[in-house]
């Protein structure tokens, strides 16, 4: 926590200093600081079971903000950052109630003109009503539950009518179903048992997966829910072993995921194990350990560009700055900041005042090229580009055990429609 505060303080100071120098050297009447400084809020579960993936995302966003400030800011504005944590000790992971409190804090700070985050859909569901009332836009680099941007639920998640929840990833309406297609066509899975962790994200992705699996003729042998705080899943895994499906699909995040992976390895190691982006986390790799975690198939709701030659400088810089390797969602977090910075620039260039309303409108009209490729949004805030990448966990003895970049091997794209 101290690190964040120090960084936050430092960035604010840098911004203010730069302004002071500008005003001083030019000899103009000093401009008011709040006219030339805007704040981007970052909201992530930085403590708890999600800390590892959240920290990688945070670093991606911080790096983008630092890069923007180094390049002269956005449309004449320096960017400050406020980081709030949604992890609590009672939840042991992200806590929707804390996320709602954080949303209120951001709304109360007039300098905050947009938010990067949250990481989790459970946070997003709690935050959106509050953000919508203030017309404060959030760009999430990783939360994939489709309901939040679904017009069907507009009364819940955007009561003010305008889209305020934008994503630099696609949703579980693609992540779950596309993986079902991939499993049937490429992994030759005919029967599957589905588990979820009772969370907003886990239930959503598992339900979307189940619907598609049934539609394309896979035999869904059951769908059960886990209590993420429970230690023992041997009962359910023994039950699944008795049914002998080809595969298990787990929708959920790290807290239950670690135990699911460990106990499947003990009881039913021969089954094909698949999951969503909730299973991409360094804490899962080190918590389960090799060889138990070996062979899991997982997806990410973004194109995998990390291994591209064009990205090698970026990856090296990230690794050096933060002493950890980036995840794909560190890249989408960088892109989320790029979207906001670009929007501020466009607002500023058009001569309008830079505030929450104008920035939201500008984000809606985004059309830029980011690290992951072109980003633009439909009227609900969902990204037009919908790519689901598939990875297999395969031990790379030359890298640290929790190195998400090297222990997850990219193996292809999960197709939106089945091949047959």
């Amino acid at each position: 926590m101290t690190k964040i505060h120090r960084r936050q303080l430092m960035m604010t100071t840098v911004g203010a200093l730069a302004l002071a120098t500008l005003a001083g050297s030019a000899g103009f009447a000093p401009v008011q600081a709040d006219e030339k400084l805007v704040t981007i809020g970052i909201e992530l579960p930085l403590t708890g079971a999600d800390a590892d993936s959240a920290t990688r995302i945070k670093n991606g966003a911080i790096m983008a903000i630092e890069d923007a400030n180094t390049a002269g800011g956005a449309g004449g504005y320096k960017i400050a950052v406020t980081v709030l944590d949604s992890g609590t000790s009672t939840a042991g992971q992200y806590d929707p109630a804390q996320a709602a409190t954080n949303a209120k804090k951001f709304v109360a700070d007039p300098n905050v003109i947009a938010i990067v985050g949250p990481e989790m859909s459970g946070e997003g569901k709690a935050m959106t009503p509050i953000l919508s009332a203030a017309n404060l836009a959030a760009v999430t680099p990783s939360s994939t539950n489709p309901d939040i941007t679904d017009p069907k639920f507009a009364a819940l998640y955007k009561p003010n009518g305008k889209a305020i929840y934008f994503r630099t990833v696609t949703t579980d309406a693609y992540q779950g179903p596309n993986m079902a297609n991939y499993m049937r066509d490429t992994l030759k899975v005919k029967s599957v048992y589905i588990l979820d962790d009772s969370g907003a994200y886990g239930v959503g992705i598992a339900d979307h997966y189940e619907a598609q699996a049934k539609k394309i003729g896979m035999n869904v042998m059951g769908h059960d829910q886990l209590d993420p705080k429970e230690a023992d899943y041997t009962t359910i895994i023994t039950k699944i072993k008795g049914l002998n499906p080809d595969a298990i699909y787990y929708g959920g995040v790290a807290q239950a995921g670690v135990k699911v992976a460990k106990q499947i390895y003990d009881i039913f190691p021969t089954v094909i194990k698949c999951g969503g982006d909730g299973m991409v986390d360094g804490g899962i790799l080190s918590g389960v350990g090799f060889p138990a975690i070996e062979g899991w198939y997982v997806t990410q709701a973004s194109p995998h560009v990390m291994d591209d030659a064009a990205m090698s400088d970026w990856v090296a810089r990230y690794t050096k700055n933060y002493n950890m390797t980036p995840s794909d969602y560190a890249i989408t977090a960088y892109d989320a900041v790029s979207v906001i910075v670009d929007s501020i620039k466009r607002v500023s260039a058009s001569g309008q005042p830079v505030n929450r309303d104008t920035v939201r409108d500008a984000i809606q009209g985004t059309k830029i090229d980011t690290l992951q490729g072109p980003v633009s949004f439909d009227e609900n805030g969902d990204m037009l580009n919908k790519v689901i990448s598939v990875f297999e966990i395969h031990h790379d003895a030359g890298s640290a055990e929790d190195d998400v970049q090297h222990q997850y091997k990219y193996i292809g794209v999960a197709p939106e429609s089945p091949t047959s």
């Binding site: 429970e230 230690a231 009962t235 807290q255 389960v288």
Partner: protein
């Protein structure tokens, strides 16, 4: 696996779970038997025990899942960890009793019980803040040995878990029935005042009770880690609550009741999950608890408590 094999496997799972619940339930039931206090700190003494034994195993050079020992090194390491964690947790229990509970012993009402909740939260947060919230990999030095019983798997670690639990429970039974201090415990449980008049050092008895109960919780913490290969700061609550339920089901205050209650809860959990659905586990467990208590308020093995005037 045929359906019968699956059921057999669930019985094996359930007995293993139950053995762990029994060890934990004993601590609740012993303390309640002696001073009629429900000790909620017990939940997290168990959790601290699993972290402490992880630390001991790491000191012996065991990290992660890749070192498998056999023969004497395996027995020696496990014995060392068991002795260390039981001593540590026993002393932790004694420290809790001596510092915060003894001053409240004769305060009527719920003050002492609320205090144990406070102590529980302190332990919980100390581990959370110093160790972090993610699930920790617990070293597993046991080789993978699997016996086939019909179509079900019986693993070395399950046999070991049952063995250690039986040994500890047998030892406790012997201690309470056959030793001087054990008999003093029984006497104190029956009537503290009379025991004191007969020259029994009640303070020593209470301290011994806390030591034994907490040492068993520490052993359960080690067994938990070896069985599941992970530990986390939240494990005290679900396991502790089930163990408490087991103690009540068996008849709180009754040592055999805690043992049987633990195994029953374990079996209900695994067979309930098999026959219905895992998400209904808690509903099943607590419904059975409610039914038993309505029909038999003292639990299965409980004796009527004579209200002290």
């Amino acid at each position: 696996m045929t359906y019968n094999d699956v059921l057999l496997q669930q019985v094996i799972n359930g007995v293993s779970l139950g053995a762990m619940y029994s060890l934990l339930a004993l601590g609740f039931t012993m303390v309640y038997g002696i001073i009629e206090l429900i000790n909620f700190a017990h939940f997290n003494v168990f959790m601290v025990g699993s972290f402490f034994s992880r630390w001991v195993l790491k000191l012996t050079g065991l990290v992660g899942q890749r070192v498998a020992l056999t023969g004497f090194p395996l027995v020696g390491t496990l014995l060392l960890a068991l002795v260390c964690v039981m001593l540590f947790c026993g002393l932790l229990g004694v420290a809790i009793e001596r510092t915060v509970l003894r001053p409240l012993r004769n305060v009527p009402g719920t003050a002492a019980m609320i205090t144990t909740i406070g102590v529980s939260y302190i332990l919980f947060n100390v581990i959370l803040l110093t160790q972090g919230a993610d699930a920790k990999n617990f070293p597993n030095p046991m080789p993978v040995v699997v016996w086939k019983v019909s179509g079900a798997d019986l693993r070395l670690r399950e046999v070991l878990l049952w063995g250690i639990s039986l040994l500890l429970m047998g030892g406790l039974h012997f201690f309470v029935r056959r030793t001087r201090l054990g008999k003093a415990m029984q006497a104190t449980a029956q009537d503290q005042e009379a025991a004191r008049m007969m020259g029994i050092e009640v303070d020593t008895v209470v301290m011994t009770t806390f030591f034994l109960g907490s040492a068993l919780a520490g052993a359960a913490g080690l067994i938990f880690g070896l069985y599941y290969n992970f530990t986390s700061y939240v494990i005290g609550y679900t396991a502790g609550l089930r163990a408490f339920t087991a103690a009540v089901l068996g008849g709180i205050g009754s040592i055999p009741g805690a043992m049987v209650g633990g195994v029953l809860i374990g079996l209900i959990e695994s067979l309930g999950g098999q026959l219905l659905a895992t998400r209904w586990t808690d509903v099943i467990i607590f419904s059975i608890l409610v039914i038993v208590l309505v029909l038999r308020p003292t639990g299965l093995f409980g004796r009527m408590i004579i209200r002290k005037s």
